[in-house]
Amino acid sequence: MYKLSKNVVLETFDDGALILILQDRRLIELNPSAAAIISLMDGQRTPEQAAIEISKNHDISHDYPFTQINQDVLELCERMKHIGVFELRSDLKERRAAIMTASDMDSFLQNPDVVLREEDPEEGALLFNPDNGVVKVINTTGMFIWQQCGDPRTLGEIISEVQKSFDDVPLEKVDQDVREFMDSMLASGFIGTVEKSVH
């Protein structure tokens, strides 16, 4: 769940909105659709719930399927988070941080409901999650990581496998890229964690 960062000011108008990022005094202009989505992200709704409200309450063409709305809302949220307009609700942020730091303990596993369709060898594959309608295109490296998660694997094991297969890439870069990729896969529900059982 996302909410507006304390570091920004949002001003809405009839035909859109303006966001001022206080830290670097950057001004962002939003169209009415983006403004409507942002106003719904109050830390109480998931992007999917916001997409449902948008599809219910706005006059949206039938050619614009719900999956597309959902995807657009999710992409906007991710972009807004990236530029510092949104922040994750603190308890979730802590949880996600916990996942990343405790990942040496936990294993990652593919969500069995997720559908994978392989495309051209150069293109990678299409992944979609029927539970939340999120669609993602992954490249060949992403596909390799996805395949690793066919069985429970720790983050360390995945990084090690990627490093072995792409040995011309520095370890730090592999580590960072795999963590970012796993982070986005977890956020969109493509991959889940399997807690290590304590005996």
Partner: protein, 413 residues
């Protein structure tokens, strides 16, 4: 503002290209061979691609276009926006269909408990049996055939599962509906159509009794679906071909028939080439006076997808003359005015229904007028009758002008 690029690809060429691509999808679960790329692929502009995707979408073929092109080895050469659009359409169709099959599973279970037979029709049936993936066949709704005597009970069961009755047509015209529509409000919403008749009610000239279809049912093999779809029946391949063909050419009319229905026919014929009983198909088409509709549908399917239909079947059909022949021909023409559209509808009906329909159009009930024109006061109803009649007269004049201008082909019917 920059001018939007316009596609130079003629409509017919775009449809032809789509058909060629779809013809390369094998039957069964074999891998798709590399797509034969047209020599002018590289010459397609972004606008051409946009047109191809838009055509495929409008004809219900976009998921198939994704399927065949994503495995063509050249998917990357398609503009990214169109690639993403195709991906979204395919995944959206898959998710929607998965929800429909989940509902079908629940309905099958509930109907089994009530001892109600359930025949899965149209999109849901072919998506589960002759398409290689459930995301390839877009469906507007879930169509099932129910015994007439069990309809009331079936509606109540559907309601207990969260469906609400949804009236597509005005009460004045409900006698023309051959199915009951129900709707479940979820995301995405699901429309369920409970049929007690196929193609049309008794009010139409081309309506047929249902006994033959009930005798032509068999258990549905949905073994490749992960869902537990039990207690489901489907029409035999022969009955499916007859139904799908007539649905396209008589119920909807050739002009409104989507290419995906002809692709359904192609897949049915290719998938069941061993079990299709062509002799039974021809004789039943003659008995039902559906031979001309079958001929038109099969010819179009062959023209689009080079479907392997035995030559003697097509030659035997070409000699058929039945009472629906002129209607099939008329329905190929897209009416230019509302009146000409209503004329096609009237010519499809039996005399009594025709008179009833005509009266309901010209002198509808005050309740209809109130709903149709959403007037504030009932005192205004007489005024709106005059407005309605004036509109009809204007449409008559437009229709006459249109007929004279075109030297209309349909005036002879």
């Amino acid at each position: 503002m920059p001018n939007k690029e316009i596609s130079t690809l003629p409509d017919e060429s775009a449809l032809g290209i789509l058909c060629t691509w779809l013809g390369q999808i094998p039957i069964g679960q074999q891998p798709i061979p590399k797509c034969k790329i047209p020599s002018d692929w590289g010459g397609f502009s972004s606008a051409d691609w946009e047109q191809l995707v838009s055509k495929a979408y409008n004809q219900g073929l976009a998921p198939l276009m994704y399927w065949v092109l994503s495995k063509s080895g050249s998917f990357i050469s398609i503009p990214e926006s169109e690639r993403n659009l195709l991906r979204a359409i395919y995944s959206g169709t898959w998710i929607k269909n998965q929800n429909i099959f989940k509902e079908l599973e629940a309905l099958a279970k509930a109907f089994k408990q009530a001892s109600i037979q359930l025949v899965v029709l149209k999109g849901a049936c072919v998506a589960l049996t002759v398409y290689p993936d459930i995301g390839l066949r877009p469906m507007a709704d879930l169509d099932v055939l129910i015994p007439c005597s069990k309809m009331h009970q079936a509606i109540n069961i559907a309601k207990s599962l969260g469906y609400l009755e949804h009236f597509k047509s005005e009460p004045e015209f409900s006698y023309l509906d051959h199915h009951v529509c129900l709707y479940k409000s979820c995301i995405p919403g699901i429309a369920l159509e409970l049929h007690e008749e196929l193609i049309a009610t008794n009010s139409y000239k081309f309506a047929v009794p249902m006994n033959w279809f009930w005798n032509q049912t068999e258990p549905m093999d949905s073994s490749f679906s992960k869902r537990r779809l039990e207690n489901l029946l489907m029409l035999t391949p022969t009955a499916q071909v007859l139904y799908v063909a007539t649905h396209a050419m008589l119920q909807h009319g050739g002009k409104d028939a989507l290419l995906r229905w002809f692709y359904d026919l192609d897949r049915l014929i290719r998938s069941y080439k061993e079990s299709l009983d062509w002799n039974l198909l021809l004789s039943q088409a003659r008995i039902f006076n559906w031979g001309s509709a079958l001929e038109a549908a099969l010819n179009k399917t062959v023209a689009c997808f080079e479907t392997p239909i035995p030559e003697q079947v097509l030659s035997s059909l070409s000699g058929i003359s039945d009472r629906n022949q002129q209607l099939v021909a008329l329905k190929q023409i897209r009416p230019t005015t509302h009146l000409l559209m209503e004329r096609q509808e009237l010519l499809s009906m039996k005399s009594t229904a025709r008179i009833r329909y005509l009266l309901a159009l010209v002198v509808p009930s005050p309740a209809f007028m109130h709903r149709r024109y959403q007037m504030k006061s009932p005192w205004m109803i007489p005024l709106y009758y005059i407005i309605r009649w004036w509109d009809i007269i204007k449409d008559c004049l437009r229709s006459l002008i249109s007929i004279f201008k075109k030297g209309s082909r349909d005036i002879r019917v």
